[in-house]
Symmetry: C2
Subunit: 430 residues, 2 copies
């Protein structure tokens, strides 16, 4: 007897039956009420796996969670306690929609550490994570059918957010030096020839999520200039910029291009995601509408968590903490690269990131990594299949591995569990 039969054979009280019938009738009626854009709002594969990956015993190479264990939790607890005890009437009350001025000044110092030297606190909006800034960018700039260009692959959360506004997201090829300018120009020309309106280029130039690839310096400027020439705004998402553990720092695209780049930063990776705070540095001529749209969504970011971050930046050695976590990420990344070299079969290749959280594995053409996820879960390891990171519905021969939140031992063990699955898949595809 299946569980469906079981359900059918259960005698329900008459009252419950009426309630169920009414709910079914409502569901049918209300289906007509959804907006057109609602059909585009879908579950992120990453979040799907997020739920699975908390099962005990599983090694999760899926979620891009930061390493938090080196945060001074006892001291931060004392700081938070003081904020509430001594400034609770401010911390627990409504605040300004743009975010607190003191924190906006401190954000300018954080951006200066990245190479943006001319930021004005007045041009910043503090947002509920940088996810919320992506949402507002799509809202303020995109009508249904408008195009946002992005890297192939790109951050799945941005894809979901843009598609919720019926945006046509077009992914442009990357190579090991980042987004390819010639491919960008070619796609822009094709789209314009079709009469399409291109509004934004969304890019994660440093340690791209999911590929780990960093856009080289000369491409950064060239890509801004291509976009400027076609009146396309650059939406530069830089959550990992300060998490470089190899090679030389590169200034963000925003640094020399204050009028053409909306720059998104986040405290999720350099401090903690739980405070849900990011920011947008917006060209002055676009700032007001951007800010008002932020306010219409959340009224204001949390004063409590803003004050905690502000205290963290002024009272703690945040750069020292960053150096510690960078060392952790570096070790974990090396461990992962070593384990991949040791265990992965011929036919698999992967990126070598200089920072960030992710390694991107490519299997031979014809291998679809999505069904492999379920085999991997059975073997006790989780990853994100590559298809999640492109707007297309095509199968993908890629997969993302995150080393950020897993101990070196677990990374070793995870790759050991994953390898035979990839080996079989490659053998079967040959």
């Amino acid at each position: 007897m299946t569980s469906q039969d079981e359900l059918n054979s259960t005698l329900l009280p008459a009252e419950t039956e009426v309630a169920l019938e009414r709910a079914a009738e409502s569901a049918h009626r209300h289906e007509l009420l959804f907006s057109e854009r609602a059909a585009n709002i879908k579950q992120s594969a990453v979040r799907d796996v997020f739920d699975i990956s908390i099962r005990p015993g599983l090694v999760s190479l899926a979620g891009g969670s930061p390493y938090l264990k080196s945060l001074p939790l006892q001291e931060l607890g004392v700081t938070a306690g003081k904020i509430i005890a001594e400034h609770g009437l401010e911390a627990l009350q409504y605040g300004g929609g743009q975010g607190m001025e003191q924190l906006r000044r401190q954000i300018c110092e954080v951006m200066a550490a990245e190479g943006i030297m001319d930021a004005d606190p007045a041009d910043i909006v503090i947002t509920t994570g940088s996810q919320s800034a992506q949402d507002v960018a799509a809202k303020v700039f995109c009508d249904p059918g408008d195009v946002i260009l992005c890297e192939d692959p790109t951050y799945v959360g941005a894809l979901n957010t843009f598609e919720a506004y019926q945006v046509d997201v077009q992914a442009i090829e990357m190579d090991e030096q980042g987004l390819v300018p010639e491919k960008l120009e070619q796609r822009i020309a094709e789209l314009l020839a079709e009469g399409r309106r291109i509004k934004l280029l969304y890019t994660i130039p440093s340690f791209n999520n999911p590929s780990g690839i960093t856009m080289v310096a000369d491409r950064r400027q060239r890509i801004v200039e291509i976009c400027r020439a076609h009146n396309i705004l650059v939406l530069e998402d830089n959550p990992y910029g300060l998490l470089r553990f190899d090679g030389h720092p590169l200034p963000p695209m925003r640094a020399d291009n204050p009028d053409d780049v909306i720059y998104l930063g986040s405290f999720s990776k350099i401090f903690a995601p739980g405070v849900r705070l990011g920011w947008a540095l917006v060209p002055r001529h676009l700032h007001r509408r951007f800010y008002l749209a932020c306010e219409a969504v959340v009224l204001c970011p949390s004063p409590l968590t803003q004050m905690l971050v502000s205290a963290y930046l002024s009272e703690y050695d945040w750069k020292g903490h960053l150096a510690n976590t960078r060392a952790q990420y570096s070790e974990r990344c090396s461990t992962m690269l070593g384990a991949l070299a040791e265990h992965l079969p011929e036919g698999a290749s992967w990126t070598t990131p200089d920072g960030g959280f992710f390694v991107w594995v490519t299997l031979p053409d014809g291998v679809d990594t999505y069904p492999l996820l379920y085999q991997a879960i059975d073997a006790g390891v989780v990853f994100i299949p590559g298809a999640a990171f492109t707007p297309s519905d095509e199968p993908s021969n890629k997969l993302r591995l995150a080393f950020s939140a897993v101990s070196p031992e677990d990374i070793e063990e995870g790759i050991r569990r994953l390898a035979p699955i990839l080996k079989t898949a490659i053998a079967e595809s040959a």
Copy 2:
């Protein structure tokens, strides 16, 4: 020499001039990039006044901030400190998009205190304030040109949020018993005759913001039935429901109508706005899309502030605190009503709320309260002009006075300052 002349006469370095020219050129080009909806995103008059009202010496009867002084700030500081010190790896990390299960269970208890006895934690989404839930409701249900019905007057933040989605917000007349069912039916009939699609009725049935009016019991059910008959969802916003200081509690519209009402609750008024947490209780058949849309905007609500609220609900006498604040609000409301009776000139009338934060003053026809705001600021008192609370651009002879965040002495003083301005305006309009 004016400051403009001064600016013109200053010799700017060539570099600065080039930078200014470039910014002006970008501003011009980028104007073309805004979405159609961006033109609808405007500054809330309430937020305008929010900035003014923090000037020292002003009595602000403008902002609807809750009274927080009776919160046990020392103890809450200790609780927050413990959460970070003992559970920081959870509190500061990413969390689930729907919000924490324990807090969703506790929210069911809060709603039970309102009269909603059958809520299931699985049907709740925790949101970044209930503002964010209003944003998602418009996003998930409304295409451009769709209609949301609301009370006249209604919450200005909801108006801004809905209009950002190019929704046509249609305000329906209220009387002292709340939204008038006959007027609602009539407007629905007119709109349907015009071929319009009506998606939602947005209502604040208890202690409406800004009018303070409460919808009587039999109208609540009748209005749900009218909406059901026309396949219109009810979006019931109930931030003040537990802040009744007079009369008898009324169950929310959601109580007996689980399939036709999306119910919005908030911790901003029963605890503290600074945690930026509200929730939506969504009919099960609509829940998934609502939840996914929330996730696309913010990924997840802050685990840190969720854990603080959860601890507040389980470890503190939150009902006792509510009783205290209700007593405060009751006293303040009485003081305001007394001062209005003593000082306001003939021709002015006002509502007598049984709870919430607001009294709504009506002046004779032909008086526009918007210009009076600037006179009031000069006299040292701030209010919100009535025009802010309707979708129309017509002048309004109403104004909103908030008693929630002001001491009785300041309320007295504020009304004393306001009265002569209203008196002159009424005399001039006669």
